[in-house]
């Protein structure tokens, strides 16, 4: 027997578990379903094509094995160049991201207008896809790894600039305020309070950025911006699927090593710094 009766004004109100959705949410849901069905056609989803393509896939996959090692040397050289592009691009990008982030972070920006402009630049850089940057740099500085490296630098600034700024904003202001009260200079406060406070986040972001750069530098070659991508495109176009398989395997090894190394580095660096 319940303690409360319906007429009891003190009875707690228990809402029904399901509530009838409003007409607006029903309409939005119906619109979404409709749009999704239309998009299936727009995206060219076609089960018959997939089924027709299956034998092709099997043939190509069959031709991929065993992977061909006849061009192993130029391919491995291209893999090395790919990694070098990623490494140089990331390091320069990370170094340039720090001042950008300082201008973009609420607690370090000299003026709201500077902050707004820097944020807009970083957002723009990030929104433009890396292949578009690569095309732009290939046209500007010519084919080759330099265009790819410039692409990675810009891409890293778009990625790190944003996350570094957020990391700076999240640092507990206590230490900075304490040092401000004794008349220290802003540069010193950034060096001793802000950067050490944000360091775990900075290291994490930089290492993720390196992983991202390695993955993206692999495809930059497709538009002529240096690295292994060009080799892969040529092999596929020449129907040398066995060579392509070797390249894909080499890419896998590179990405795997970089990711493994970066997670090990992350753990060690975070423990060491004091």
């Amino acid at each position: 027997m319940s303690e409360f009766t319906d007429s009891d004004p003190a009875a707690p109100i228990l809402r029904s578990r399901f509530q009838r959705p409003s007409w607006l949410s029903s309409a939005l849901f119906a619109f979404f379903i409709g749009f999704f069905l239309w998009s299936l056609a727009g995206a060219g989803m076609s089960l018959p094509s997939l089924i027709r393509g299956l034998p092709n896939m099997a043939t190509i996959a069959g031709e991929m094995f065993p992977p061909a090692t006849d061009r192993a040397q130029p391919i491995l050289e291209a893999i090395l160049v790919t990694f070098q592009m990623a490494l140089v691009g990331t390091v320069i990008g990370v170094v340039l991201s720090v001042p950008m982030a300082l201008l973009a972070a609420r607690n370090t920006s000299p003026h709201p207008l500077v902050r707004y402009v820097t944020r807009s630049v970083i957002s723009f850089v990030r929104t433009v896809p890396d292949l578009a940057w690569a095309l732009f740099f290939v046209v500007s500085v010519g084919l080759g790894p330099f265009a790819g490296t410039l692409t990675i630098i810009v891409d890293t600034i778009g990625f790190c600039g944003r996350f570094f700024a957020e990391a700076f904003e999240e640092v507990d202001p206590g230490a900075s305020e304490a040092l401000d009260s004794i008349g220290s200079r802003p540069v010193d406060r950034i060096a001793v309070a802000l950067i050490p406070g944000a360091l775990p986040s900075l290291i994490n972001t930089s290492l993720f950025s390196l992983e991202k750069a390695v993955r993206s530098s692999v495809v930059l070659g497709l538009v002529g911006a240096g690295g292994i991508g060009a080799e892969l495109a040529v092999s596929m176009e020449m129907f040398r699927y066995d060579q392509a398989a070797f390249i894909i395997f080499a890419i896998f090894i590179l990405v795997f090593i970089v990711e493994h190394f970066s997670s090990r580095m992350r753990e060690r660096l975070l423990q060491q710094i004091r």
């Binding site: 304490a178 004794i182 008349g183 220290s184």
Partner: protein
């Protein structure tokens, strides 16, 4: 009771204050933007060199604001401040910062950089006088400054934890490192804003004992805000009470009692 409601200015303090005043505050008022009423109005007091002064008052009475206004960390609306005889009123930018470099400040939260060692954090106190990478880390510091930082840690009893990361220290130890950092500045006056508020009672006592000892051994002027009536009575020579936007008590601590001071918290 009447002693509390009407300010009791002890004549001996006022007479000798001008001779060796560490801090002279005259007619200080503050009103925050967007609020109608003032935080406090027309506050005047002097603190002699080597004196230990407690500032008490209820939450929201404006104690912390008053403390910060004394070094213009918060800008007062009117009034004048003299720090060791030097007028702070007209100063701006670098001159004001220079004037502040002999003022040690210990906050309720220690304000240390958690990832760095105690020694490095203490070394940062030197940024009050110097700048540049040689003050950023104990690894980059001069032998002389490293030695001095270690001595400061020794004075707060933590020399053996010099290389410990600050995020591995207890609340009380962290606050003592913050005091060591203030000592590194070689301050002539030490401000403390509720330095024991986030500590357990025992650690709070240790920190207050330390303040008292340092104040005596270094002839350091101490100006602290406290919620602990007992701390004010025990560790201060003199107690200032802030209530109803005014300084309603200025009295030697030995002439006060727990009961009389509790009036400030109702």
């Amino acid at each position: 009771m009447s002693q509390i409601l009407q300010p009791v200015f002890q004549t001996d303090q006022v007479a000798s204050a001008t001779a060796s005043a560490s801090l002279q505050v005259d007619g200080l008022s503050k009103c925050f933007k967007g609020t109608e009423s003032a935080v406090f109005r027309d506050i005047s007091f002097d603190i002699k060199e080597g004196q230990s002064v407690a500032l008490i008052g209820a939450n929201g009475a404006g104690k912390s604001t008053l403390l910060r206004c004394c070094v213009r960390l918060i800008e007062p609306d009117s009034g004048s401040i003299r720090l060791s005889g030097e007028d702070l009123s007209g100063k701006s930018g670098r001159a004001l910062k220079k004037a502040r470099n002999r003022v040690g400040f210990v906050f309720q939260k220690h304000g240390l950089v958690p990832r760095l060692s105690a020694l490095t954090n203490v070394l940062h106190g030197n940024l009050a006088h110097d700048f540049g990478p040689r003050n950023w880390s104990q690894r980059l510091a001069s032998q002389e400054n490293r030695q001095r930082a270690l001595e400061c840690l020794d004075q707060v009893g933590l020399a053996d934890l010099a290389y410990q990361r600050c995020d591995q220290l207890s609340g009380g130890q962290s606050q003592r490192v913050a005091i060591a950092r203030a000592l590194m500045q070689e301050p002539s006056i030490l401000f403390a804003d509720e330095p024991t508020a986030s500590l357990d009672p025992q650690s709070g006592e240790v920190v207050m004992e330390l303040f008292a000892r340092l104040s005596q051994s270094r002839n350091l002027t101490l100006f602290f805000v406290s919620h602990h009536v007992e701390h004010a009575l025990h560790y201060a020579d003199r107690i200032l009470g802030l209530r109803s936007k005014q300084l309603q008590l200025d009295s030697a601590s030995h002439s006060q009692s727990t009961t009389s001071l509790r009036e400030f918290y109702v």
